[in-house]
């Protein structure tokens, strides 16, 4: 399979995920759609090519672990899990619904393929460190990928874990920061300046790469071979756009909260070129 074909497949997977996400958010009248859309391309590459996971054996002990530390982007993970055969497509209609397993923040209980429940920010990287340490101590080869939000880098617990991983040379751990630069009320720089963010992770001892978090080839090549440096955990600073893929949502804080009305759903789906 040539790279070009692979990229086209990845793009199609990402498009499908975006369609699921906007439909789910519309039906659920849920918020956080902008946060979900900003990580779609990262998740598409992770689940299509990078993560060694198996839907027919979701608890395979040697599977790679993926933790969505920014648990509010749950819709995106549920959608990719459906596309990869972990959960039935019909279950996506139950997102946010009474009696459903699909909570607004990612939940392991009752959802095949989810390794950790999150929702409160600043928890994922620490749990990921524990899993990566377990792999090391058990001499297992699985890797641990943790997807964080940029706002989550405000949390002290994130930096406790950031200190820990290089100290213990957890080179089987990858932190991916979804750096869309918008948090709840304002930009990250206005709220609690993170810059120079890459330098901070470097200073803590991580091997750091900055990429365009929507460039599928760039994501692929960044995650293809882990670790980048033996003995160091890897940190991908993924520059992204909140609401990516639906122009009227892009870079707008409003879509951290607002839910789609019927007209907006149609406009979004038209942009996403839903066949038929």
């Amino acid at each position: 399979m040539g790279e070009r074909t692979a990229i086209a497949e990845l793009a199609e997977l990402a498009r499908k995920i975006r369609c699921h996400v906007v439909r789910m958010a519309h039906r659920a009248r849920s918020s956080h759609i902008g946060s979900s859309l900003s990580v779609v391309d990262l998740l598409a590459v992770l689940y299509a090519e990078i993560l060694r996971v198996n839907p027919s054996e979701p608890n395979w002990p040697d599977r790679d672990r993926f933790i969505l530390s920014k648990g509010h982007a749950a819709a995106c993970v549920y959608a990719v899990l459906a596309e990869k055969g972990f959960v039935p497509f019909e279950s996506l209609d139950t997102y946010y619904q009474n009696g459903s397993a699909l909570a607004g923040h990612i939940t392991r209980s009752g959802v095949s393929g989810v390794d950790a429940s999150t929702g409160s920010l600043g928890h994922g990287l620490g749990m990921g460190c524990g899993m990566a340490l377990a792999a090391r101590r058990d001499r297992r080869t699985y890797r641990v990928f943790v997807l964080l939000s940029d706002g989550e880098c405000d949390e002290g617990s994130t930096w406790e874990a950031a200190l820990f991983a290089p100290h213990h040379q957890l080179d089987n751990l990858v932190a991916i920061v979804d750096y869309n630069k918008l948090q709840s009320l304002a930009t990250t720089e206005h709220t609690l300046a993170l810059e120079p963010l890459a330098d901070k992770w470097r200073a803590f001892g991580w091997s750091v790469r900055e990429i365009n978090g929507h460039d599928l080839a760039e994501i692929q090549s960044a995650l293809e071979i882990i670790p980048w440096q033996a003995g160091r955990p890897s940190c991908v600073i993924a520059h992204t756009v909140k609401g990516k893929g639906v122009r009227f949502m892009e870079n707008a804080i409003l879509w951290h909260y607002r839910h789609l009305d019927d007209d907006e759903l149609q406009r979004a789906l038209e942009e996403l070129k839903v066949p038929g």
């Binding site: 002990p61 392991r108 209980s109 390794d115 950790a116 429940s117 999150t118 929702g119 409160s120 600043g122 928890h123 990287l125 620490g126 749990m127 990921g128 460190c129 524990g130 899993m131 990566a132 340490l133 377990a134 792999a135 101590r137 058990d138 002290g156 617990s157 406790e160 874990a161 200190l163 820990f164």
Partner: protein, 326 residues
């Protein structure tokens, strides 16, 4: 108690490779033998209790039985949300160990007094709460928790607590141990109050008041049957804990009694729910809060007198006892 804890853990770890010990930069003079014997199963997470707890959860989710270890409030309140969301919600096999529970760190001050921890831990779903009453219980509790899957809180004293039980005492999680058999009143003690409670019972017996003493080492799940039996078979129940009177053992027993159809006199003995500026040793503080042997006898005598249950012994007279309590 911490000596029995670590010795038991060392012994168990020899045959159980799942056992990990993760400390928050404490345990000088205590954890070194474990760290030396099992370097691959020991971890000093640094002064970072949130991360210590999250790492423990991550390790447990990969099949380990993880003991986190620190002092006072640090392994509980400092990282409460990690305990709730990372440990409890995942039903992770993490046992949180705190030493110096209650006023054990004495003159170090309020920051080091763990006096609300039982209440907070008890409220968490899936959490078992164990508060051993003497070194023998501490060792047996450690052993029992390794065999008990899921989250647990083990609240220990410090070092050198006098034994109350004999080594062959029968210990099961969730089952109170009877320290004395029959009595007209029941004293339910947990943790570091057990020894003083047993001594107070002896004093009361000398005054003609026989007390049934229960060691309620497991505060959650509470031994409801033992509480109800005490309510049916004795005239009054006192709870004794080195903890705020809000939310701990006393509250757990009160909840049980309130939902029963039984009528029994009841009083919680513990620490008032406010900060004081009193500085002093563990013993001094226990005296201050009337949790010394003498203080317990006085409080019980006063209550029995007020309830009209005491005999005419002058030393138990209502006025005198009440005056000392106030």
């Amino acid at each position: 108690m911490k000596t029995e804890f670590i010795n038991t853990l060392l012994k168990l770890a020899e045959s159980d490779e799942r056992i990990h010990l993760v400390v928050g930069d404490v345990g000088f003079g205590l954890v070194e033998p474990f760290a030396g014997r099992f370097p691959n199963r020991f971890l000093n997470a640094g002064v970072a209790e949130q991360n210590m707890t999250a790492i423990a959860a991550g390790l447990a989710m990969c099949g380990k039985v993880v003991f986190t270890y620190s002092i006072g409030n640090f392994p509980t309140l400092r990282c409460l949300e990690q305990i709730r969301s990372d440990v409890c919600y995942h039903e992770a096999d993490v046992k949180i160990v705190s030493v110096g529970g209650g006023l054990g760190y004495g003159a170090l001050g309020i920051s080091h007094h763990a006096t609300e921890d039982i209440a907070v831990m008890r409220a968490l779903p899936c959490m078992t709460v164990v508060v051993p009453g003497d070194p023998i219980e501490a060792g047996l509790a450690t052993r029992a928790l390794v065999d008990h899957p899921g989250p647990a809180y083990l609240r220990l004293g410090t070092r050198g607590e006098p034994p109350v039980h004999k080594a062959d005492v029968s210990f099961r999680l969730g089952e109170a141990i009877r320290v004395t058999e029959e009595g007209v009143i029941t004293l339910i003690a947990t943790g570091t109050m057990l020894h003083n409670t047993a001594q107070a019972a002896e004093r009361l017996a000398q005054k003609g008041i026989q007390a049934r003493v229960l060691s309620m080492h497991t505060v959650k799940p509470l031994d409801v049957e033992a509480v109800l039996a005490a309510a049916r078979e004795t005239d009054a129940i006192f709870t004794l804990e080195e903890h705020s009177i809000l939310g701990g053992l006393g509250s757990a027993v009160a909840e049980t009694l309130a939902e029963s159809r039984l009528h029994v006199w009841f009083k919680r003995l513990g620490i008032p729910p406010n900060f004081t500026s009193v500085v002093g040793s563990h013993e001094y503080l226990k005296q201050t809060y009337l949790l010394s042997v003498e203080g317990i006898v006085k409080q019980i005598a006063s209550s029995l007198c007020c309830w009209g249950l005491s005999n005419s012994d002058a030393e138990l007279s209502c006025g005198a006892a009440a005056a000392r309590v106030s």
